[in-house]
Symmetry: C2
Subunit: 192 residues, 2 copies
């Protein structure tokens, strides 16, 4: 049931059941097919999404036009292109469903109203962004300190949904390696 999704994702010490109801009432359920686009580069984000079911990814294009997957959003996580949504700027990122999916959408204007009228969601929002920043920094650090195969092993361990549902090419670009290299790493993991 979706109620538990909101409870899980909007959890914060200051959050009351009434706050949660008000927040939830502003979300709208959406059913996505595989490869549906939720945001395209060049456009300004107008909403963010709670992922109930399925897998979502963020990607950018590099100088040669190749897609680089920059984030995977799993079930019970939030897909939000913060710098476009909150700075009202055109996005460099794309957001796309990797699988069929069910998400709950909230519009910028509705969130904005909550943010300035409800202390709990303000604190929640700042904490959520802090966690995002932390995770993004951790990922940078791991790109520096861990080998490609270590990074793949960590992914298997900590975010198995990705390994199970995303195509190899997307996982490879997310790990910062060529797809042939990931294929080789998989092979070596089996034989050794």
């Amino acid at each position: 049931m979706a109620q538990t999704l909101f409870q899980k994702l909007y959890s914060h010490p200051l959050m009351t059941p009434q706050d949660l109801d008000e927040i939830a009432s502003l979300h709208q359920r959406m059913v996505l097919s595989k490869n549906d686009m939720l945001l395209q580069e060049g456009k300004t984000a107008n909403a963010y999404y709670l992922v109930e079911k399925g897998l979502i990814r963020f990607f950018v294009h590099d100088l040669d036009g190749n897609e680089i997957t920059t984030q995977f959003i799993c079930e019970n996580e939030i897909a939000n292109e913060v710098s476009s949504l909150f700075q009202r700027l055109p996005s460099v990122q794309n957001i796309q469903s990797v699988t069929d999916a069910v998400v709950w959408k909230i519009e910028f204007n509705d969130f904005q109203h909550l943010y300035h009228s409800m202390e709990s969601i303000r604190e929640w929002g700042r904490e959520w962004m802090s966690r995002q920043l932390f995770q993004t920094q951790q990922r940078s650090i791991e790109m520096i300190t861990h080998s490609a195969s270590m990074r793949y092993l960590q992914l298997i361990e900590h975010r198995p949904q990705i390994v199970q549902q995303a195509p190899l090419k997307q996982i490879a670009s997310y790990l910062g390696i060529a797809d042939t290299s990931l294929s080789r790493i998989r092979k070596e993991m089996i034989t050794n």
Copy 2:
């Protein structure tokens, strides 16, 4: 004069001169010597710092105990270990002056009061965090898509203060390469 520092760093459409005065009055000037620690890993951050003069860095320790510089904070930028300060958690990062420096400190409690009483700083804060997130993501992407020498060239071009003031070893770990490799890259840049 420090007034321009606050104007520059706290700029936002909603920010009034009175807001700015109130904010500025809560900052305290600090003079730092080279290598002073502003935050140590394991402790919880209780303030953030506007950098007026000098260079600051963030670093973590990897599994072998080596220091990895994760961020440089130049003049007219803000040194804030967000995930410790706003989640009230022990920091994994250290903050240290690279050179002698002058910074303006604001305590968490004072900021917290502003954040819940002043719309402009709320909006400013969210935008600042959005920009941080964007920059951190861009850095991740560049670690994937650019070679080490490209990353070094970009650093020279976009953040010359770092190249001029930080020791090679810190720059190398920031770029994700061995210090001997950076030395070689420098040499090749001169001869070619």
